[in-house]
Each structure stands twice: as C-alpha cells, then as structure tokens.
C-alpha cells in the first residue's frame, strides 16, 4: 500500500514537471514559425492640389473662355482578385457663395463640369461630367484585380480638370467651393 502511494506520488510529480515543460513549448537548436497575412481589397487617395485656382485663359478675350483649373490626386488601390471593383467619386460639399457661380443652381448653361485622367489601373470618367452638390459623381472606376503602381510608397496619379463658364452675371469677387473625393474598393 505504502509502495503504491510512493509510486503514485512520483508519477504525479513527473506529470507536473512534464506539464510545466510543455508550457514553454519544445526547446531545440532551431524552431520554425509560420507567419500569415490576409490581404484584402484596399484603397486610399491623396489630393495633391489642396487649392485649385480656376482661371480664365489669358488672351481669351472678354468672356471668351471659361475658368479652368486642374486638381491633381494620387491613389493606391487593390481590388479583389475575383469579382472586385472600385470607384473614385467627387461631390461638391460646399458651394460657391451667393452672387458667384453655383454648382447647385447654376444659371442656364453655366454648370461646372469636369474631365478626368488616370493611370492605367483605372478607367477615367468621360467628360464633361456635371459636378453636383446632391450626389457623388464618377471620376474613375476600377475593374476586378486592379492594382496601382508596384513598390512600397508608390502610387498612381490622376487629374480632374474643372471648367466653369464665365458668365457676366457673376458679381466680381473671389468665390470658393469644396470638392470632396472618395475612393472605394471591394
């Protein structure tokens, strides 16, 4: 009986020691770990022209040319390998002040429009597209398995070229509007 108790105690101690050792894992001269990563669709945009001035072409004559300006942007995108898609859109989130041009309620024929360029990773809008305060309008679209430029820190570039008719009805002054760009990818 006593012998059995001693054997049982020794067995328990062995189990405890074994358990403690297992908590530290297997020690050896080498060890291998597997690192895994799940890469999902992603997109990001940066507006590189923080303020775009719309100016009348010099020498265009009196009311001879619209105000134009270019907003440059860069973007990174990755769409899903199968069935993915994406967009870049723009919305006028703050209209010009009263007395000046208007995106929401422009005088007849005075709608602000834009045209687009992008890198090969996207399909740019076909201008002229009428800007809107009521909803986002397309700047570019991405197909499935679309990727912007390779390389850490690299990105693709695009432009939006704005056109604002030069209507004599506008009062003189400086007017500003805010255009908000949004990129998305699935």
């Amino acid at each position: 009986m006593k012998t059995q108790l001693i054997k049982h105690s020794l067995l328990s101690a062995a189990v405890l020691i074994g358990g403690a050792s297992m908590a530290f894992g297997q020690f050896a001269a080498t060890g291998t770990t597997q690192v895994s990563v799940a890469v999902a669709a992603e997109s990001a945009i940066s507006i590189t022209t923080s303020t775009t001035s719309l100016t009348e072409a010099s020498g265009a004559g009196i009311f001879g040319a619209p105000f134009t300006g270019t907003t440059n942007f860069s973007y990174k995108v990755r769409t899903t390998k199968v069935g993915g898609a994406g967009t870049i859109t723009v919305k006028i989130t703050s209209d010009f002040a009263a007395g000046g041009p208007s995106v929401a309620t422009p005088p007849t024929g005075d709608a602000m429009t834009y045209a687009c360029t992008t890198a090969a990773s996207a399909t740019p809008c076909v201008g002229p597209v009428t800007a809107s305060t009521g909803g986002a309008t397309s700047v570019a679209t991405f197909a499935t398995d679309a990727h912007s430029a390779a390389g850490t820190g690299s990105s693709d570039a695009g432009t939006v070229v704005w056109t604002l008719p030069n209507d004599p009805i506008y009062k003189t002054g400086t007017y500003t509007a805010t255009a908000t760009f949004t990129i998305s990818a699935t």
Partner: protein, 182 residues
C-alpha cells in the same frame, strides 16, 4: 543433551550481544575513500517559437501589416565563447503575395532577456540575419551572474509592407530561428 543445549544457548547470546553492542576498548576502523566527480558542462543553446503568427493591420490606408513572435531561449556560453540567435525565411510568401525577396518583410527586436537584441533589420531568404547576440560567460536563469529569468525571451516585431500590387488573398511564409552557443 540438556546441559549442552544450555551452554550452546549462552554462547549464542554472547555472540548476539557482541553484534549489538560495541565492546569498550575495541578500536573502530574507518575507511576513507575518495572519488573524483568530473562534470563536463558544455556550451548550450536551445529555443522555442510559436508555431504561427498572424500579421494584421487596421484601416485601409496601406499601412504595413505587423505581428510579433516571442522567442524563448536557454543559453550557456563559455568564457571564451559567445553565441547568437538568427532567423532566416525558409519559405517565401506565395506568388502574387508579399515578397521577402523584394524586401517586404522587416523586423525589430525588443529587449533581450539575455544578450544584445538586434536593431531594425530586413528579413532574408538567402542569409540568416541576427536576432540576439550572446556574450561570453552567459547563462540562463538563477540570477547573477546568470540571467534572472528562465527561459529568456526576446520579442521580434515583424512589419510587412502592404503594397497595392499584391493580390488579395491569404499568404504564408516560414521563418526558422536558430540558436548557437560556444
């Protein structure tokens, strides 16, 4: 027969008493034996790493994926020796995914429980890169002059570039850690 038996009994008692008590005046003999115990303790290093580690990030701004691997190790170096822990990517991420060969995977080491931890390094598939350098006369556990903890640990934080050109999906790579001590 009876008397013979009585004498025999007395003799037996006398012999028994001789065994049980040390008679006064009998000199004890003590044997002193010497034996040399020669423990040959070699330099040694062993380590343990988790089977897997996930690299993750939050947001959609192409921030790097990050993750950590805790390396536990035991080491003993000689007065004239030293040692190190190194790592090497033995299997790169799959085609279309991140690329160790392209330099996508970098790492930095936290404070080493024993030895000197690496700074910022780029992981490699072709060469082993440093994680911890062990000094001479280093030993794990038990307190001074050895380390206070047993096992020793060092946390390796990985950073994996999130390049747009990488396709969506799950990708894995294998990293082998090796310890050596002399």
């Amino acid at each position: 027969m009876v008397r013979f038996g009585a004498r025999s009994g007395s003799l037996a008692l006398a012999i028994l008493a001789g065994f049980l008590t040390a008679p006064v005046g009998v000199e004890a003999v003590t044997a002193n034996l010497s034996n040399t115990l020669d423990a040959h303790i070699d330099a040694l290093g062993e380590l343990s790493v988790p089977a897997s580690s996930s690299l993750t990030h939050s947001g959609t701004l192409f921030n790097a994926f990050t993750g950590t691997v805790t390396v536990q190790y035991l080491a003993r170096t000689t007065a004239a020796g030293g040692g190190n822990i190194t790592m090497q990517v033995t299997q790169d991420f799959q085609t279309g995914g991140p690329s160790v060969v392209s330099g996508d995977l970098t790492y930095v080491c936290g404070t080493a429980g024993l030895g000197t931890a690496c700074g910022s390094s780029t992981a490699s598939t072709s060469t082993a890169t440093s994680v911890v350098t062990l000094p001479t006369s280093a030993c794990t556990g038990g307190g001074s002059p050895c380390s206070a903890t047993n096992p020793n640990t060092v946390i390796v934080t990985f950073s994996l570039a999130d390049r747009p050109v990488v396709k969506t999906g799950s990708f894995t790579a294998n990293i082998q850690f090796t310890i050596s001590a002399t």
